[in-house]
Symmetry: C3
Subunit: 210 residues, 3 copies
Amino acid sequence: MSIIYFLDLFGSFAFALSGALMAIKKDMDLFGIAVLALVTAIGGGITRDMLLGNTPVYILNEPVYIYISIIAAIGAFLFNRMLFKINSIILVADALGLGTFVCIGVSKALEANVTYTGAVLLGLITAIVGGIIRDILANEIPAVLTRDFYAITCIGGGIVYTVLYNYSLSQNQVMLITAGFVIILRLLAIKFKWRLIKALPVLSGENSHL
Amino acid sequence: MSIIYFLDLFGSFAFALSGALMAIKKDMDLFGIAVLALVTAIGGGITRDMLLGNTPVYILNEPVYIYISIIAAIGAFLFNRMLFKINSIILVADALGLGTFVCIGVSKALEANVTYTGAVLLGLITAIVGGIIRDILANEIPAVLTRDFYAITCIGGGIVYTVLYNYSLSQNQVMLITAGFVIILRLLAIKFKWRLIKALPVLSGENSHL
Amino acid sequence: MSIIYFLDLFGSFAFALSGALMAIKKDMDLFGIAVLALVTAIGGGITRDMLLGNTPVYILNEPVYIYISIIAAIGAFLFNRMLFKINSIILVADALGLGTFVCIGVSKALEANVTYTGAVLLGLITAIVGGIIRDILANEIPAVLTRDFYAITCIGGGIVYTVLYNYSLSQNQVMLITAGFVIILRLLAIKFKWRLIKALPVLSGENSHL
């Protein structure tokens, strides 16, 4: 588990940085920066634990993720001009986090004996909910819903994990293969700007509320 | 339970459609459409299960709701121009879902031995939280808070359920009467455009944050 | 516990008022006003209970908080022009709620044997999440993230509580000292308009989504 644990810390730091930078863009104060860093890093994991009933949720007993988020927030606060320029580095770090979060989500779901479809869903939730809460707090439509291939990568990773799970591989092996799959797919998606198709534009769509 | 189960699936499909159509209006990609379909269909039920501590939440073990949402998302993606035109059909389907969701929420609350007021609240939450999350993700003020009689219908249904609960009726009977009450009240509200009153307009209201 | 319980009811009422006034500003109907009152009053406590696994969450068995919120909503509906003018009274009432909510959150966390850092975090969450949900529902960036010293006060209170917790004081004494600390600090912050520093403005920051 040590490589996965290291990737988890590293990915949490990357997620926290993305939250902190969003807060700075939105002109939030230092506390707002820390909150967005924290919720981006831990929002997915907390949601995962609540959905499974793994309570008290992990963050209450593993403060290291809180400290990592605070460090990311202070770092972003001090060096934000530089960080906005090295966006590509953050994207790579974020991909590492993404792969790890998917793995951890799926593995905890399978431990709880949920269905495979449920496990894939939980891996996806673990990976994307932090960023969704970040965007909601920043009063923006969540980026994951509008802009690209991000989530498909997570679903693909979840499927890879649940398939490998039935072969005689150790959990460590399954996790590393899955994380590698997600990370590489994500980096390829960034590199080649893969996008999902959209529906035809709606000209006069008025969907009165349901 | 079979009629309630059928209504539940049907209502989930209607809720998912409303989420998918909102996503299309907001120019989201196919994944965003699927997510809004899914959260609209299952957001209320997941919240209900987390509030009660019924974990792992139902969706992780009953993937049928995930498949229904995906089908609704793909259907909306392909036929959205048509769907925006037959809005009244969707409103009726949504009313069926509403009545069913209220029933299921109240019945699960009573099984957990919470107070009657708590049960009515949980029925309401089960029915409206999915739509609220849909609107938050679409970066809009939730329609249920601003536009009409929608929620009062759910509260009325919850009260009907808790009153009938004390008479010698089977759970099935209570559920069908309650669901019927909600569905009819909702359809009447749509037909006659019932609205709630608003406060007098605030001219210079500046409510500095609390 | 009786003073704390009284402060809790009083603070819940103040929080509910702030939610109701926000709803009126946003032109919501009477139901929207009641919902914003309710979520502002109970959002923090519900989230606390879900994170700890204290389910069914308290509100389902303690309807008094629901009644308080409804009274606040009706009061705000009838007297909103007057209430917007006596904003300073509401700010004081809100400070009482803040101090109490921090205490209750930290004490429940310590009962669940989480780490001290986790307990401070949970006190903060209990105090601010209601207001955050209120602002999200109103489609605004949460005030606590952008405008002032509000949250630091809660963190300070959590630290005071966890420090005192290790001395031979009764829970009542610890709670009253902590609540007093938070309330006084909050009133000073309002009086002297203490603010947190912000990052230097970002001129051309384009943080493509992570």
